[in-house]
Amino acid sequence: MISAKSLDLTFETNDGPVHALKGVDLDIGKGEFVSFIGPSGCGKTTFLRCIAALETPTGGELTVNGMTPENARQARAYGYVFQAAGLYPWRTIAGNIKLPLEIMGFSKAEQKKRVEQVLELVDLAGFGGKFPWQLSGGMQQRASIARALSFDADILLMDEPFGALDEIVRDHLNEELLKLWARTGKTIGFVTHSIPEAVYLSTKIVVMSPRPGRITDVIDSPLPKERPLDIRDTPEFLEIAHRVREGLRAGHAYD
């Protein structure tokens, strides 16, 4: 589905080149839930932006659905959820979800149908007529996920979508996200810097480290697909979390 081979990305700055990504090799299969975890500056967001063709790699190869990222975007291969919900305050929730559909030229009837569908999917049915400021932060982020889902891309890229929310809301949304993933069968790329969040959600955890941004460990999670929140107290869960922590520490050994 997504394949990176010795991917490099160097930013030229006034202080010399910065290696945001160096020699990144990764394959993401269909229907996987992949988390990218690491300290800031490790290139996890940059990698996600490369997949979305928001950044252009300076070396290596990257294909999305067998296409270049640019073509994949044209083919509506992915929906992108940013850290902030980024809803337009002058549009209702339904209006916000419609926005990409309007841009992509869906018919009015189709827009209406899809808005209803995705609102249902993120458990916001009946909130379409509200304005963003009338919703809580968690609900706004759910609306933004609905917007990313509205044009039914196969891939959902999420850049710390719950980073700004409190832990209780975050737990709830994590649970909801897993349900959504099970129902839709999307491939999800998820950037986070919370170890429990990464372990709880993912089928595959990619541990990254900075200077240069690179992958230090890729962990395939043995956890079952059905994951109640209290799975986080099981020995298996703690073992994976431990391995992630080790991976993060190893990345820092260079400092």
Partner: protein
């Protein structure tokens, strides 16, 4: 409501009080001369005696003629009630078609203001669109726009009138162009900022949907710029009014609030000048309030106003 009325009333009362007080020393010399001519005893006697005397000292020695300082024909500083009376007589009691009606003159100025404001706003928005979308325009237009505003309008207004007159344009259009010259600038500056107000994240988001530049403009930049637009329009409309009035001065114009100011100063009609000034201020307040009302209505329709 009462809580706001009281402090506002106090401020107005203080201003009016200070104004009446200021009239006394300002007009005391002429009042004393007139009173003496009418047979009253003034201390000291004789206009020559009083010429070099301080106005306040003279006022304190002749408290009996304070009332006269508020009822002069051509006072240095007219009293508030004189201005109000003049305003009343030249608006309500005069026919709108009369040359002495402030409504008539006000409309002449207002029509130039509105036309100039319209031209300035459209030009300002178009320039801002160009500046935001073209680096070349950003580099080339902005310095000129800024330079244009450093020239005193009083200096350039006669030039514009003369140049336009030589190509046969008179009356409304030259005034509107001077008015537009003043009002386009706040609109350019405000709208450039407004069009650039969407965050990098929102721009990136548009890219993830493969939105075209025009889609990004119409769906994101333009609605995001609305609060900036109205802030600019409020400054722009006030500047337009100033521009229209300044445009009426150099022609020795016979119509418009600017003309009333000019003829007032030719003939020492201070009451006429002050009433024209107040008419201008009231007009400006009404125009700004109209823009504010448009702002509220627009933001409410957009769902942003609460």
């Amino acid at each position: 409501m009462m809580r706001t009325i009281f402090p506002v009333a106090v401020v107005v009362a203080v201003i009016v009080g200070l104004w009446y007080a200021a009239c006394i020393p300002m007009n005391i010399h002429t009042a004393a001369t007139q009173a003496e001519r009418a047979g009253m005893v003034i201390d000291p006697e004789g206009a020559a005696e009083r010429r070099d005397m301080g106005a306040i000292a003279l006022a304190l020695r002749n408290t009996g003629i304070w009332g006269d300082t508020w009822a002069q024909d051509k006072p240095r500083l007219p009293a508030p009630h004189q201005v109000v009376t003049e305003l009343w007589e030249t608006t309500v009691e005069k026919k709108v078609t009369s040359k002495r009606s402030l409504i008539f003159h006000g409309w002449v100025t207002l029509s130039a203001t509105l036309l100039g404001f319209g031209i300035g706003t459209v030009a300002g928005i178009l320039l801002a669109v160009g500046i935001v979308h073209s680096r070349a325009m950003d580099m080339s237009v902005m310095p000129w726009a800024i330079a244009s505003q450093t020239i005193p309008i009083l200096a350039i207004a006669p030039m514009i009138i003369v140049v336009l007159n030589s190509v046969g344009l008179q009356g409304l259009i030259p005034k509107a162009i001077i008015s537009a010259y003043l009002s386009f600038f706040p609109v350019v500056v405000g709208m450039v900022k407004g069009f650039r107000s969407p965050s990098q994240m929102q721009i990136d988001q548009m890219r993830t949907w493969s939105a075209s530049r025009s889609q990004t403009f119409w769906k994101l930049r333009l609605p995001a710029s609305m609060p900036y637009l109205f802030a600019s329009l409020k400054i722009g409309i006030a500047a337009s009014l100033v521009g229209a009035i300044v445009g009426e001065l150099p022609t020795g114009a016979v119509r418009g609030l600017g003309a009333r100011l000019l003829t007032g100063s030719y003939y020492g009609q201070t009451i006429q000048i002050w009433s024209a000034l107040f008419a201008t201020a009231i007009l400006a307040a009404v125009l700004v309030a109209a823009v504010a009302a448009m702002e509220r209505a627009t933001l409410k329709r957009m769902g942003v106003g609460r």
